[in-house]
Every structure is written in C-alpha cells, then in structure tokens.
Symmetry: C2
Subunit: 372 residues, 2 copies
Amino acid sequence: MFEFNITSTNGRARMGVFSTPHGELQTPVFAPVGTQATVKTLTPEHLKGINASLVLSNTYHLYLRPGDELVRDMGGLHNFMQWPNPMLTDSGGFQVFSLSNIRKIDEDGVTFKSHIDGSMHRFTPERSIQIQENLGADIIMAFDECADPNDRAYIKKAMERTHRWAVRSLEAHRRSDQALFGIVQGGVDPNLRAQSAEFIASLPFPGIAIGGLSVGETKDEMHQTLDVVTPLLPENKPRYLMGVGTPEDLINGVLRGVDIFDCVLPTRLARHHAAFSSEGRLNLMNATFARDPRPIDESCDCYTCCTFTRAYIRHLIAAKEYLAGTLISIHNLRALIRLMEEIRVAVKDGSFTEKAPGLLAQWDNNAKRKTS
Amino acid sequence: MFEFNITSTNGRARMGVFSTPHGELQTPVFAPVGTQATVKTLTPEHLKGINASLVLSNTYHLYLRPGDELVRDMGGLHNFMQWPNPMLTDSGGFQVFSLSNIRKIDEDGVTFKSHIDGSMHRFTPERSIQIQENLGADIIMAFDECADPNDRAYIKKAMERTHRWAVRSLEAHRRSDQALFGIVQGGVDPNLRAQSAEFIASLPFPGIAIGGLSVGETKDEMHQTLDVVTPLLPENKPRYLMGVGTPEDLINGVLRGVDIFDCVLPTRLARHHAAFSSEGRLNLMNATFARDPRPIDESCDCYTCCTFTRAYIRHLIAAKEYLAGTLISIHNLRALIRLMEEIRVAVKDGSFTEKAPGLLAQWDNNAKRKTS
C-alpha cells in the first residue's frame, strides 16, 4: 500500500501512480476541496463525471461539525459522504491559524476558539492524528504551525516546532491504511526551507507536503521556495503543495516537481459567477452573456458545457438560482482536472517543459476577470 | 397531436396517455415546478433520474426575467433549460394576483407592478398567450382571474371575466404545437363552479384546468368543488388541478377524476429540511437524526435514499450546505412521482378506489411534521 511509482519524467516534472486503499491516484493530480464533507453544491456523481480522483476535506471543520467520532461511527469519511475514491484530510493546523479568532500556541499544541460558536478547543499533534484517524482519509497530514511568511523572526521558531510536531505526529499515528505526510515549513527563507525539507525528508513519511505557501508571499517567492525544496526531497515520495492554487500555480508547481495540489479556487469562483475559459476568466453575470448561445467554453467536455448556454447560466445567476453555482463549479473543477490530464499526457510524451510556456500564456488570461 | 387516450378507469379515476410534441405523458401525473426555468437546485439529469415527465414553469416569472423573447430566441424553454420532455406554463394570472403588489384589473386585462424591481407591466389574454407562445411549452393556459374564494360577491364577476378571457385566449392562440387549456373558476360556490365547468367544457380546448383551488379554501370545499366540476367535463380531455398539492390532495384528486397536478410543495419543503417518509414527515435538522444511519425512507428508490444517510443529510443542513436542499428535493419529488406511479398501477388493475383509504392513511402522517 502507498507505493508511489514514477512512470515518466520530463525535466523536474513527474508523472506517477500513488496506490491508496481507495484506488490508484494518477499524478500530477488536482484535488477538489470538500471542506465540510461535501464539495460545495456537487453530488459525488458530479465529481465522478468530471473525473475527479482525490478529494480533500478539512479536519478543523469536521472536528467541530459534525464531530470526528460521529464520522467514524458512520463508517468514516468515505462512507459518510459516499466518495469511493481516495481522500485526503489536512491536519487542522492551517484553519486553526486562519479561521479561529483566539489561539494560544505552546510547545504542546494550540488552544483555539471555534469560529462557529466561540467554544474553546485544543489541538495537539496527537489529537490531530487521532481526529484524522477517526475521519479515515487515505492521506493525512502531520500537525504543523503555519506562520505568517512576513514575520521572518517568528518563522524559524514555528518551523522548529513543526519539526518536533512532525516527530510526535509520526509516533502518534496507528492506522496502517493511512499515509501520513510530513509538512515542510520555513516561510520564504531559503535557508529555513532547505533545513525543513532536509529534516522532514529524513523522517519515514510516505509522502511530503509543502505548507505555508499561497498565504501572502509573491509568486516569485513561491517559485523560489519550490526551487529550494523539491530538489531536497526524495524522488520516490509524492509531493503535495498545500492549498495551491491557480491554473498557473499548477503548471509552475508541476514544472518544479510537485505531484498533488488542492484549492478552493474553482468552487469559490463558481459561487461568485466567475468561470475559467479559453477566452480568459468570465464573469457570467455580465449582461454581455444574456443572449450568448455558446457554452462557457467551447473546448470543454464537462456536463455544463455540453448542455447549457451562457445565456441560461446568466439567467440562473440573475434569478439567484443555486443551480448556477452547481453548473459553474462542475465546469471550473473540470477545467483544472482537464489541465492536469493534459499535463500528464505532456509529461509522458516528454513535451511538457516545452509546452509549459504556452500553457502558462493560455491560462494567464484566466488570472484576471474578463467581462466581454 | 394532443390526443388523450384513457387506457383504464377505476371509479372516477382514470389512467391515460396524453401525446405532446415532446413525448407522451402517462397520467395521472405530478409535475415538479421549475418556476424560473429550473426546478430549484436540480439539474435535468436529476429530474430524469426520478422519472419526472412533465415540468411546469411560470409565465409571470419568465416574462419578467429573463424575458419571454429572450427565451424564444434561445430556442424556447425546452432548449433554454434543456428539458427534453413535456412542459407546461401557466398563464401568469395567478402570480399577478399573488405576487405583485399593485394591480389594476379592468375588462381588457391587468396592470401590475413587478415584485423584482417595481416596474409596471400589463397582461391581457392576448399578451399572456403571446408570451406563452414565445416560451414554447407543450401545454399552455388561458389567462384567468383567480379571485379570493372567500370574497363570494366578487367571485361571480371574476368568473365571468375569466370566461370572456378564455374565448379571447383561444382566439389569440396560433401555435398548433401547443395545447391551450381553459380554466374553470368560480371559487367554492357549487353553482358558479358548475356554470364555469359547463362554459369552459363547451369551448374547443384540448384540456381543461381547474383553477382557484388550494388558495385558502378547506379540504372539504376542495373535494366538493371537484365533485361538482369533474362530472361536467368531457371524458376525453385531460383535467389539470392547478397548484395542488399535498400527497393527500393528489390521491383525492385522482379519486375525483383529475389527471394532472403540480405543486411547489416537495421542493419548498426540501429547502426547509422537511422530507416525506413512510414514517411521516421528517424534519431532518432534528438532533435525533445526527447519528441515524438509515436513508430518509427505507422504501424509497431515489438517488438520495440509495446513497446517503439521514446523519449525512442532517450534517449538510447544520453546516448550511446547499447540497442538503438538492438531496431532499430529489427525494421529495421522487416520493410524489412514485405515489403517482403506484396510483397508475392501481387504476390499471382496478384496485385504486379500494386502496385509496389505505394510501390516504399512509400519507396522512406526512401532513404534519414528525420530529422523532
């Protein structure tokens, strides 16, 4: 179990297969985010229809609601949300730092206030692992401290604590049907990142995550950090760039040897009526689309694009119908999953590094909103 | 086209086939309501999955947004919302009277204020038919005045105007691929209802609707009204009881010779977390269901019941995830469509009148909410 076989490489980009108890993951892979045990507005059938493989869910959210023991008693996360394919949970560390109002960090763990009802809770590495064992995802994360990348004085302290917490997470982990990944931290300081990569790589994790990016640093800082980190990681373990990202980030990440990505962007954009397209990002509420008989993207093979016009989706948005969010989510997720499929083919036939600048240019116009 | 063949009868109950340009309707039939060209939170695939056949949409809403000419230019309602099976639009009359704040009725038509932006609009029988021709449903309605059933002095005046508008609607109608139904009014006054039924039955409508019920009258009044009206209608034309209703109303309607029903109840209940079940109506937000591993209804064959637990749906509700509304809508609509399938089988084998009291008793506990 958890064998990772690299089947092709192209430059630093890799194509591989990661075996999990719920099936094989073709990498590089983009994971839709199902924060609260559901990818917002979509059924598992929709996810199968867009060829989603890995789905991420959030430990912090599920611990607070409905509770990890309830999920365990209902047969675990796969059974609870009826997702039969691989799943990943984060450690809760990031949400504790980004969502809860009050938190107190000490060597042992973090005390925080629920963003839902203000109740007080405590996570330690052991508690996070216990919760993730209850949830039962295939891939779980060591508990880490994600510090503000601009607070350079603090980053070192947080990184060293993350390392001690990584060891404790490993020691606490019992379930052999879950792959526990360690997390590299260190902000955007190349020396700290190198130190963290080497330390985490020295531990017997079956996979390694790169945390603390996409949290306020520049794109250049993200790329430079990846350039420091991935060469220090073992070739034979999957690498997961947490919470990243935009289509450009995925291309740049694969170019730098990343295998797994997740991000809320496609579904969040969908709820704000923005859609990826080969013409650039579209705001489908725009009046321009009121009588547009075309699909969101003529080159897309998703259910939404094979079925509905921009005019209809624009009407649903104007009429405040939730179906709009569903249809655009299907499309936006399919767009990124299709991008990853395209990247895998290119890595396999050795053309990815050559094609990457063109892909980046093609997706560049999706960074900004296009309204006509 | 629009041939109506009654294939079985049982007492006053009928089973038949109504042919439309978008396929044959097996009657008695329950039509989900897609007010704004979408059955709220569901894709057309969901509707096919629950064996929905006829879908209703609202002329008043679509006229205001996105506009009937836009729908026409996008290929009509079937194409716009991608529903390939039969559709029905109402005349807008009911919504003008129930939704718009200011209205002025005269012999020629109604001037009303949009509930969306306060703009002023005018419907006449000719305008309603023109709008419905633009929308392009298979079954369309004559423009009528739905008066308060308790204002008995006014009811007669409204009924007589409805009769004159019925004649004008017939004269205005041009499209031969649409069946224009006349509407019987007359409140709950048996004499007026009889007069209206005879008048509307005398006109060359291919089907006849019974309007002005489920608007504040008692159940007994509804049944008595049906007992007066349906015996006066021609046997060979389908009868549509507008905006009705509850499971009990469907059973009682079929018993009295009704063929077509529509109601927002199943989807509206779903958005308020209430589900039909053989145990009675369930409020799925109730804490009782937090760890309930059963489907909403063990006897149900819908996607929701074949896939998800009450515990999961309760979690989605608590977490304010829209998927809850989708899943409960699928179930509630399927429950009524399945009831109609059961009724058709019983009419065919001659057991419906005998089974009806049992069916009514079985569904009676769905009238009230059951919380444990």
